[in-house]
């Protein structure tokens, strides 16, 4: 239907933006948002390549499992962020620089 390259260009853009967000933002929740963006870019590629195989949904199955793993990662990551915030009173990753009180 639509040319496969146009999905892949959008996926490449989303992944690069996610990488920039992960590196440059000084807030743990923003870093998590960037990771979600990167996972979605990979999902978009899986679904785009699934279109090349008619009557097959293997790519969609992989995308489904990627979504499940992303859910687990977000839940555990946010729990860690909240605990770190309670202890250090900050959500800047660079300021968390001691192991013990």
């Amino acid at each position: 239907m639509f040319p496969i390259e146009h999905f892949l260009y959008l996926g490449a853009l989303l992944f690069s933006v996610g990488l920039i967000v992960v590196i440059t933002k000084k807030n743990m929740i923003m870093v998590l948002l960037g990771i979600e963006l990167m996972l979605n870019a990979s999902n978009l590629n899986l679904i785009a390549f699934n279109q090349l195989h008619t009557n097959s949904v293997n790519g969609q199955m992989f995308a489904l499992f990627v979504i499940i793993v992303a859910v687990c990662e977000a839940a555990v990551g946010l729990a860690i962020v909240i605990q770190v915030y309670k202890y250090y009173q900050t959500s800047v990753p660079g300021e968390v620089n001691e192991l013990n009180e």
Partner: protein, 171 residues
């Protein structure tokens, strides 16, 4: 240009623009809202790519689940009487360099490659992807399905333990 073609590029533009705006936004809450917009546009693109089940899952799980949890996290990790949730930027040059060079590598390799023509017709009469996904989940992908269930249980218990505020000497 037909309506579906217009919609496809419209949603691609929305996804790309809201993702790019995520780089420049300084408020965490606005960042979460921009990510919601990007994910909804991606769900629309999934529908146009004949992945209806993934699109519905995307809306239910990401927009309904993860983003609500993230907004809870934002509200729990900001000082109540403090200032607005302004995010500082650091490593601006190195981060932009890494992202843009990665993008250039990807786009260059995509230019080199030639993909087969995507000639799926718009209306597929005898193929039901949701039906096939259900059959696949119970036959070929049964082991990953069960492992995913165990993984979800572990993540549920683990995050509940991690985020609880009960003092324990054992942990």
């Amino acid at each position: 240009m037909s309506l579906t073609t217009f919609l496809f590029y419209f949603f691609e533009a929305i996804a790309a623009l809201s993702a790019i705006a995520l780089i420049f936004v300084r408020n965490v809450f606005y960042g979460a809202l921009l990510l919601i917009m990007c994910l909804l546009a991606l769900a629309a693109i999934y529908i146009l790519a004949f992945a209806e089940f993934i699109a519905v899952t995307q809306i239910l799980v990401y927009v309904g689940g993860i983003l609500v949890v993230i907004i809870f996290g934002i509200m729990l990790t900001t000082k109540i009487a403090g200032k607005a949730m302004i995010v500082e930027h650091g490593y601006g040059f190195s981060g932009t360099l890494a992202g843009i060079s990665f993008l250039v590598v990807l786009v260059y390799s995509l230019f080199q490659q030639s993909f087969p023509e995507n000639n799926i017709p718009l209306i597929q009469s005898d193929f039901n992807s949701i039906n096939t996904i259900g059959i696949n989940l119970m036959s070929d992908f049964l082991l990953p399905f069960e492992v995913a269930g165990v993984l979800l249980l572990i993540a549920l218990i683990g995050s509940a333990v991690l985020a609880s505020s009960i003092k324990s000497n054992k942990i």
